[in-house]
Point group: C2
Chain length 354, copies 2
């Protein structure tokens, strides 16, 4: 598995890799929404404000159908940068990995079967608490039920997420837990100042250090739901948290909700780890002694400009792309070069749909 680098706890990482090679994987995508995404300039997900709420359901539909239903085309910026879900889809299909979407408060429902939780979306943390504490507890409890069921059905449960502005709420949660967090973003010129202002405004409200209060004040519905899933699934199978900063926030809540440290890893792209404006590795080490699996999607080698832009710092990760690629490589021995070729073919297909 030359295409997967192990960082963090190396021993646990090698054990994790060995125990899931050629095994069964199940990919879950948790979609959600926070009104924090409506702050102008905070996210590139969606080229305009009206579009943001369609990002997650459109990605969900694209993973199933190869086209979208809630919008006319597959999400792509006007200059041809596609949704990171393109990498997720290619990886899952290449390795015949089944997947399921879990709705944790998306404003728009995807037009596919999905696991429903009845959770509402999060509020704008700049102005008010994200969630009622009651909903945080409910999200954890629902996550536990989902994790118990899905964990019984596979050898490795992969959990990805799609929530516009999710890095901002994750950053607020991490700081709420007194963790030194500098976060990645889907925009190359990371709007750090804007994010810091939002996070600082939210932190001013914060009094309680109770973990559920921190999430209620500063978080979003995805974080407690995934923490609950992690808690139960990691008792029965391996769990790969597919994502960057958002999964760091999940792990931080995991100190309270619990998990089996010997069964989990974070899986993400090299673009997250190499982002100088963030401090991903140090942050994870501060939170948990677990392995971090890294895949280099090698998009800088692509002949397609829209894909090359990823390696310039655009998007970097999303829709569990890194974790999906790692899963495909671990399950089938595919190379990331092969995945890139397939991604280029898929890109050519979807631009004919635009």
């Amino acid at each position: 598995m030359n295409d997967i680098e192990i960082l963090g706890n190396l021993d646990k990482g090698q054990n994790f890799v060995k125990s899931v090679e050629e095994k069964k994987f199940l990919f879950s995508l948790v979609i959600s929404y926070t009104e924090t995404s409506e702050i102008p300039g905070i996210t590139i997900a969606g080229s305009n404000l009206d579009f943001i709420k369609f990002t997650s359901p459109a990605d969900s539909e694209y993973l199933h159908y190869g086209t979208c239903k809630c919008i006319d085309s597959v999400p792509m910026t006007p200059d041809g940068k596609p949704t990171p879900a393109i990498m997720t889809k290619v990886a899952l299909e290449s390795a015949s990995i089944p997947h399921i979407v879990i709705n944790a408060g998306s404003k728009i429902l995807p037009d596919i079967p999905f696991i429903e939780t009845g959770l509402d979306h999060g509020k704008n943390i700049q102005n008010e608490p994200a969630l009622d504490r009651y909903y945080v507890l409910r999200a954890v409890e629902y996550g536990r039920i989902i994790g118990r069921t899905l964990g019984a059905l596979t050898d490795c449960l992969v959990i990805g997420e799609s929530i516009p502005a999710g890095t901002t709420t994750a950053m607020a949660v991490l700081k709420g837990f007194d963790i030194d967090a500098k976060v990645s973003s889907s925009i190359p010129e990371n709007p750090i100042e804007l994010k810091n202002n939002v996070v600082n405004a939210a932190l001013k409200r914060s009094k309680s250090k109770d973990a559920y209060d921190v999430i209620a004040n500063l978080g979003d519905p995805m974080i407690p739901l995934v923490a609950g899933m992690l808690g139960t699934a990691s008792q029965t199978c391996k769990v790969l948290l597919a994502g960057g900063t958002q999964m760091a926030a999940v792990l931080a809540l995991g100190h309270t909700t619990g998990y089996n440290e010997n069964n989990i890893a974070i899986g993400t792209t090299s673009y997250i780890v190499n982002d100088d404006s963030a401090n991903f590795l140090d942050m994870i080490k501060e939170i948990a002694d677990i392995p971090i699996l890294i895949v280099n999607p090698k998009l800088e080698d692509s002949k397609i400009q829209g894909l090359r832009s990823y390696s310039d710092g655009f998007v970097k990760e999303g829709a569990g792309a890194g974790g999906a690629m790692i899963s495909a490589i671990l399950k089938t021995g595919l190379t990331s070069k092969k995945l890139l070729e397939k991604t280029e073919k898929e890109y050519q297909r979807i631009i004919t749909l635009q």
Copy 2:
């Protein structure tokens, strides 16, 4: 497996049993609703009209929590006859079989995570067509997606259903397909005349013999959804259709939607097969050359009157109870006598909750 009798195609039945013994099972419960259930006297599910719509979500919650949330207590008649979900729950727990609820148009949403399809409930077939044809096609398509995902996650997908008055819509569908159907009921004095009147009124509207038109006119949302699930899941794993007449209607639609005949069986209780007012075995043979697995829950041996009443013809089957018991026996080698003991313990527990 002395406690499971094989009827129908014996060779296929023995192969089915052999290939799933000690393997992984996944139990799915498809919940739905038809306004046909509001015809007074047609169903015992729910002791009064207001309660009927809570039957399926309450069963779903009970399977998860051991208690219900949408109603105050576990469904039970005033004289102590419990929901058949008690047998489902005991069987699934005894054998550590994971389960998931799929909502295909329940009027009330259960307070648990479930797979959502966005389908609406069915209309009263006595007065008007059950569904738009568009929704029938959508239900089949959604079922195909769900079956593909769940089929990839297990060795044997068990599909149960919970839809009050589902025997009446199933009977109408079977007659719409020109199959000689006499149906079971959850009431010992099967209200055959009432059901026949409803079915005949519905059949008078029927012109088209197109399978989707038949379902649209006479059926309910559960039938096309389960037919879609059966179609895709049976390509990759064994499928046990857990139920009586309703699953006969699913099989009949399966002639059009397709399935792999070598991978499927019906699983139900001896009370369905021994019901003299119905003709279950002959009906299935007319539809498909598949095995029928039968479990005798031996409730007549119970010291509890509310459970003994099942063997007198009350309820007979429901919430996939027969299929769940068969799955537990096949997975773990448990006897139905042992399951009865556990069911009696569970009965003692839930009456303390009333």
